[in-house]
Amino acid sequence: MKNEIEINDELIAKYLSGEASPEEAIALDDWLQVPANRLHFRALQKMWEASFPSKSYRPVVVESAWANVEKRKHAGLKTAETRHLPKSNAIFKIAASVLLILSFGGIFYLYQTKKPQDVSLSSGDSLKHIRFEDHSMAILNRNSHLVYPQKFANEQREVQFTKGEAFFNITPDAEKPFIVHTEIATIKVLGTAFNVLVKADTLEVSVDHGKVLVYTSTDTVYLEKGEAAFLRASDTAFKTQGSNSNVWAYATHKFVFNNTSVSEVFRYVEKAQDCIIHVANPEIGNCKLTATFESVSTDYMLNLITEALNLSVTKNDDRTFTVEGEGCH
C-alpha cells in the first residue's frame, strides 16, 4: 500500500489536536523516521505541549511497558481485569458523576454511577472544616454551600462552590489543577491558599499565598499573594485590588492590624467571630490600632483592644458586646 498522504504543518497540527485518522497517523509515523522531519515535528509538538502544560506528552519507557505486558500475559488474566496502571480509563471517569441524564442531539444518554456520590455540604450557623482526599482543605464560613467529590477525577480536582464564603488551602499538585466552579467565574490553582466569597451576584477571590487564575468566558486575571479580584455577574471584566487577610480570619483565626481604624477592626472581628459589637460613642471608631492576634477568644481580644485604647467592654450575651469610652478625634 502506497501512502498518498502529504505531511505538512496542517497535518501535524491535526495530529496533535487528536484529529488524525489511523492512515494519517501511520503516514506521519513513516515520515518521522527521517531525523530532520522528527526535529521539525518535535519543535511543533513542544509548542503545542507548552500551551497546555498539564496535558503533556510523556515519553514512554518501552522496556517497562513490555515488562508490564509480559507479566499480564503470563498471568493469563483477562485484559479487562488486569489494568493496573495508576489511573483508570475514561469510562470509569464518566461514572464519577452521579446519575446523569443529558440530552445531546436529541438523544438521551444515561449513565449510572459506580462511585460514591458527591458530598453536598451546607455549613448553616457554624463553620465547617473539610479535608479533601488529596489533603487539601477548605473551611466553610457560615451559611455557605460546597459540593465536592469523595474522590477526585484523574486529570483535575474539581469542586462546586454555590454560595457563601470559603477559605481553601490546596495541596500542590502540578499535574492536577484544583478548580473551584462558581456561578460567576471559575478559579483554577495548582497549590495555594485563597478565599472565595460569593454574595448575591458578586464574586470576590483573595489570595493568601501562591498563584490563582480566575476566569470567565470574557476575562482572565492572575492573582498572587496579597491580591484580590472582584466581579459582578453582569460585568465582563474583573476589578483587582489588594487583599486583606483579615477577611478570612474566620478560617485562620489570625488578625493583623496596622494602624487600622477601630471601626474597621470591629467589622473584621464581627465577621470572623460571628458577633455584634455595639459602640456607645461613634468617636471610638476613629481610634487606630496596630496589633496582631492569633487564635485568641473574642472576649480576650476585645479586652486587649479596649485596654490599649483606654476604652471598656461589656459582654451582653454570648454574641454581643458593647464598647464604651471617650474615643479619638
Binding site: A13, P22, Y57, V62, W66, K73, L85
Partner: protein, 175 residues
C-alpha cells in the same frame, strides 16, 4: 511486508520473540497517537498495552488484511475514539451543570514556568478567529467537528487556523 507476514505468522504460532519485536517497533508511535486522541498519557499507555494483550490472547484468530501497522493503528484509533466519545459527553455535562454562562473559551492553567507565560502572551496576540479556534481546540478540548459547528465554519478553516497558530508560536520561540 514479507517480514511482517512472517512475524504475524509466528505470533499466531505463539512465538514470544516475534511478539516482543512487534511491540518494541510500534509501542512508542502508538502511544503518541493514542495520547493525541485521549490527552492522557496513562490512558494512552493503558489502551495500547491492553490492545497488545488482546492480540496475544486472540493470536490464533488473528486475521490481518493489510499491514500489521495499519491493523494496530486502527485498533488503537477505535478504542480511543470509543473512550473519547464517553469523555466528550462527560465534559459537556460538566459544562452544563457548573458554569452555564461560560459558553466562550476556557482559559489555560496557572503556568508555573516562564515559557508558558510567554506562550499565553503570544496566544493573546493571535488574530481573533485564530485564537478562538486554537483555544477551543486546546483548552476546551473540542473536536474539529464541534468547533466547526459552534462557529459555523468549515473543518478546513479550522485545520488552517490551528496550524497557523502553531506556526506563529513556533516563530516566536525559535531559539
Amino acid at each position: 511486508m514479507l517480514e511482517h507476514d512472517r512475524l504475524v505468522q509466528q505470533i499466531k504460532e505463539g512465538n514470544d520473540e516475534s511478539f516482543r519485536e512487534i511491540f518494541h517497533a510500534y509501542y512508542e508511535g502508538l502511544c503518541q497517537y493514542a495520547f493525541t486522541l485521549l490527552r492522557d498519557m496513562d490512558d494512552a499507555e493503558d489502551v495500547v498495552q491492553s490492545m497488545f494483550l488482546k492480540i496475544w490472547e486472540k493470536r490464533q484468530a488473528l486475521n490481518i488484511n493489510h499491514t500489521f501497522k495499519s491493523y494496530l493503528y486502527k485498533a488503537v484509533y477505535h478504542q480511543c475514539v470509543n473512550q473519547f466519545d464517553h469523555r466528550a459527553v462527560r465534559v459537556k455535562f460538566q459544562e452544563r451543570v457548573t458554569v452555564d454562562k461560560s459558553h466562550g473559551v476556557q482559559q489555560p492553567e496557572v503556568f508555573p514556568h516562564e515559557l508558558e507565560e510567554r506562550i499565553v502572551a503570544v496566544i493573546k496576540t493571535l488574530p481573533k478567529q485564530c485564537r478562538t479556534i486554537f483555544m477551543m481546540s486546546r483548552y476546551e478540548e473540542m473536536r474539529y467537528a464541534e468547533i466547526a459547528k459552534e462557529l459555523d465554519i468549515s473543518v478546513n478553516t479550522i485545520e488552517n487556523q490551528i496550524s497557523k497558530a502553531l506556526r506563529i508560536l513556533r516563530e516566536h520561540f525559535k531559539d
